[in-house]
């Protein structure tokens, strides 16, 4: 049977996210409890987490999480990594035995800084990391980059999300942002790389939905050098954010208006100047519009953004209490860990929930 990446597999899902806006860190316990409540939204074929602020000892190193299916794959990949990066520390990602978790690949992590002479002319360190991630995923069979950002990491695999949380001992980590994903694929993804979140640099995406524009989004992104090896919506959404926010320096609100564009009938009611802007957005980035149902949480070291498709074809609820922002597919998953939020609401289609750290908030 073909595994994920060789075939496109639609999925239904649960997502959840917690962020402390002051940048104070907390353990993975809450996020596991929240996503576990939505057990029935996944089917045991994929679960995962992204955590930010978990590596305070190496805040300026790129933290590479890798899956290896063989010693040979590991050896080849490490030779390649050593060519491009100084590796400050590396080791196996700690796990514990969980009876239901089977066929786990070897999970390894590296704290790395690019070697100056490995950079191409005009290439930034971020771009080198992107190049390395694309290269490893495309060329080293049996190797897969799970995450590659600074002071963050993704933990995922085939199983229910709460099982993955237990397997990767996430209650032992402390972070200021946690996001989680439980997956209900319509097919057997076959391997751990196919689970979510999907990440690039410090972007991570957890996503519920099946975007009908995937083919159009994909072919647009390919023109900008992205290699979509997973054939998943999540991968495409991650690269779309990376292109707009990192590569092209598009402001966040415009990036959001690209992916969940306002309807023409709404644009017609805007001021003339805004009309010109949004018209240009839809003219130039029309192929990046995400069509069909989705709810996503984008994580980064700057904060999180939650977004629904413009028709709101997937559930998404947000809540706040003190300095904490909660987002989940279902209200119950928020109340499970925060029984009495100060504010709780269902964001409208195309209307983002943005949680950015307050000035000086992030504790390194």
């Amino acid at each position: 049977m073909l595994r994920e990446g060789e075939v496109r597999i639609p999925s239904g899902c649960a997502i959840s996210g917690i962020m402390n806006k002051k940048g104070e860190v907390f353990s993975g316990h809450d996020i596991i409890q929240s996503i576990a409540l939505m057990h029935d939204r996944s089917n045991g074929l994929g679960g995962g987490f992204a955590a930010y602020g978990i590596y305070p000892d190496f805040p300026d190193h790129y933290a590479f999480h890798l899956f290896y299916e063989s010693a040979e794959a590991k050896e080849k990949t490490e030779t390649y990594l050593n060519m491009l990066f100084h590796i400050a520390e590396s080791g196996k990602i700690p796990t514990r035995r969980v009876p239901s978790v089977k066929n786990a690949p070897l999970a390894w992590r590296y704290f790395a800084k690019p070697k100056p002479d490995a950079l191409f002319e005009d290439e930034s360190e971020d771009e080198l990391v992107v190049r390395a991630v694309m290269y490893i995923n495309a060329h080293f069979s049996g190797s897969f980059v799970v995450s590659s950002g600074k002071n963050m990491g993704a933990f995922k695999g085939v199983g229910y999300p709460e099982e993955m949380g237990e397997y990767f001992r996430l209650e032992e980590y402390k972070g200021y942002i946690w996001t989680a994903h439980g997956r209900f694929p319509t097919n057997t993804p076959g391997w751990w790389g196919g689970a979510h979140p999907f990440t690039l640099l410090d972007w991570s995406i957890v996503h519920n939905g099946e975007i009908s524009s995937y083919g159009a989004n994909r072919r647009f992104l390919e023109m900008f050098g992205y290699k979509l090896t997973m054939q998943t919506d999540t991968e495409a959404i991650t690269y779309a954010f990376d292109l707009l926010l990192r590569k092209q320096n598009i402001p966040l609100d415009i990036a959001i208006a690209t992916l969940a564009a306002p309807f023409w009938r709404d644009i017609e009611r805007m001021s003339l100047e805004k009309q010109t802007l949004y018209k240009a957005v839809r003219t130039v980035y029309g192929n990046l519009l995400l069509n069909g149902p989705f709810s996503i949480i984008l994580g980064s070291n700057k904060g999180i953004v939650a977004l629904n498709d413009r028709l709101k074809l997937r559930s998404l609820v947000a809540a706040t209490k003190a300095d904490v922002l909660y987002i989940a597919s279902e209200e119950s998953a928020i109340r499970e860990i925060c029984p009495e939020p100060e504010k709780i609401w269902a964001p409208r289609g195309g209307e983002p929930v943005i949680g950015l750290f307050e000035e000086g908030g992030i504790q390194k």
Binding site: G12, M223, T283, V284, N287, L290
Partner: protein, 500 residues
């Protein structure tokens, strides 16, 4: 002179019980296939002159007329068919090139009919266009790689774009090849539904300037009717290099069609032949094309997108890439099934390639080179219905051109005799008696209705796929599956076989 060996193509059957001898058929037939026999006091027919355009059938008040294929058969021969033999008789009599009108009618494969569309089931919802917004607005023109936005303002304006409410336009048909009333019908329809029509190489008649914002003005090899106001009048300018029905050859409007109005519009003497050379004599290479593109942009202060129209030929992908790099904002590709007012039969039926394959190859090539968004792709050359439009966009087109379908909407019956100038429906003729048969207001309503009907159907198909904006369909080949195609063809189309 020996006897003609040509036999009629059609048989006119008249039900004598029904015929009331009103002679409508006699008056309606410009080919003079019907005549009144004074002696016998009967309406009679000369079958040999009939082109099967249905004019008499439609107008006969008692439905007394039927036109059938002439039953005379040659001895059965799979190689030497009746049309092949008849063509030789005609050439033996005249010593001339065989001429014809409309598009290639040979039974080549139609790839549209081997492509199937997707629909949503369970894993994502289909969208009901009656309840939810369904957006077809389309922009044609050069798109920058990125926007520059600062403090909520657009810092750099984007290049000029054509704005279409529906991704369909009326393709180039010149004044001369079709009548002024036909053009007025299309121009008014384009204005009504928010799309474009195209002047072809016929210049712009003074009555048509008011439709400027819905007009693409064409510059072709004969440069007929091209002057500064003409270039300024349209919303975009199109350089015509080639046409799907007759790639590699020019055009010829015979002097008898060049009456006063055509002569004034084309800026040529009355009654003279208007001959468009095969190539532009200032374009013998790609760098020459670039000069013409920029000359036209200079002449219009870079306010209008410039399109380059080419016929789909073997090396289309490389040619299109060159055109994009030469500075074109839009590339219009015309497939080998595209129509014409007049073309040599052998050229029409044997030169060029199908638009489906050309489109797929060009879109893929431009994407591989990372320049697809710099240029818009418009395809024509037999888009027959709204499903063809949807399939073309999924393969990668930004919009489509239709001409034959538009003419059929205003009365064309595809008799393929446009070149004779005797169009009984008032479309492909300059004979004032025939032209006035086409009422431009009714024509406009019918052409606009066609676009609106297709618009509804496109929305319905998009909604079924779970898509509510046409830009999410553009180049989305995952929405297509192929049936009955070879691996190689699927490969070129970039489409998976059904079931995979």
């Amino acid at each position: 002179m020996t006897i003609s060996m040509s036999t009629p193509d059609f048989l006119i059957e008249r039900d004598r019980d029904r015929c009331i001898k009103c002679q409508v058929c006699v008056r309606q037939c410009a080919n003079e296939a019907h005549f009144w026999d004074e002696e016998e006091q009967k309406v009679k027919a000369n079958d040999a002159l009939c082109v099967n355009c249905h004019r008499c059938v439609t107008y006969c008040p008692t439905h007394a007329l039927t036109i059938r294929k002439y039953p005379l058969e040659f001895r059965e021969n799979a190689n030497w068919t009746a049309s092949t033999i008849k063509a030789i008789y005609r050439q033996a009599e005249t010593g001339g090139i065989l001429l014809t009108g409309m598009g290639n009618d040979r039974p080549y494969p139609i790839f549209w009919d081997h492509l199937l569309l997707n629909a949503s089931q369970v894993t994502n919802p289909s969208i009901d266009p009656l309840r939810e917004p369904m957006e077809l607005k389309t922009f044609l023109g050069r798109k920058p790689d990125q926007l520059k936005v600062e403090d909520g303002h657009l810092v750099e304006k984007i290049p000029p774009q054509l704005e279409l409410e529906v991704p369909i336009m009326f393709s180039a048909m010149s004044y001369g090849s079709i009548s002024l009333n036909a053009i007025k019908s299309l121009a008014a329809a384009a204005e009504r539904v928010g799309i474009m029509y195209n002047t072809g190489e016929g210049g712009l008649h003074k009555d048509l300037y008011k439709y400027g914002k819905n007009t693409i003005v064409q510059v072709a090899s004969g440069r007929f009717g091209v002057h500064p106001e003409y270039l300024q009048a349209g919303a975009a300018i199109e350089i015509k290099i080639g046409q799907g029905a007759k790639p590699g050859i020019g055009g010829h409007l015979p002097g008898e069609k060049v009456g006063l109005e055509v002569s004034q519009t084309r800026m040529i003497p009355e009654g003279t032949d208007a001959i468009s050379p095969a190539p532009h004599h200032d374009i013998y290479s790609i760098e020459d094309l670039s000069q013409l593109i920029y000359s036209l942009k200079e002449a219009t202060q870079y306010q209008k997108p410039v399109s380059v129209k080419i016929a789909a030929v073997h090396n289309i992908a490389a040619i299109a890439s060159g055109i994009a790099r030469a500075g074109a904002d839009i590339i219009a590709i015309d497939g080998f099934r595209g129509g014409t007012g007049a073309a040599p039969l052998r050229t029409r039926d044997n030169v060029g390639i199908p638009i489906e394959l050309a489109l797929a190859a060009v879109d893929s090539r431009l994407r591989e080179e990372g320049i697809r968004n710099q240029v818009s792709l418009v395809v024509g050359g037999s888009i027959r219905n709204s499903a063809d439009v949807v399939k073309a966009i999924a393969l990668g087109a930004d919009a489509v051109y239709i001409a034959t379908a538009a003419l059929v909407a205003i009365g064309c019956h595809l008799c393929q005799k446009c070149n004779t100038g005797k169009c009984n429906w008032g479309i492909a003729t300059q004979n004032p008696q025939l032209v006035k048969r086409l009422n431009p207001e009714i024509g406009a309503e019918r052409a606009a209705n066609l676009i609106m009907a297709w618009e509804h159907e496109i929305k319905e198909l998009l909604g079924g796929m779970g898509i509510n904006a046409v830009e999410s369909l553009r180049g989305n080949r995952l929405m297509l599956r192929g049936v009955g195609l070879s691996d190689r063809e699927l490969n070129i189309l970039g489409v998976l076989p059904a079931g995979e």
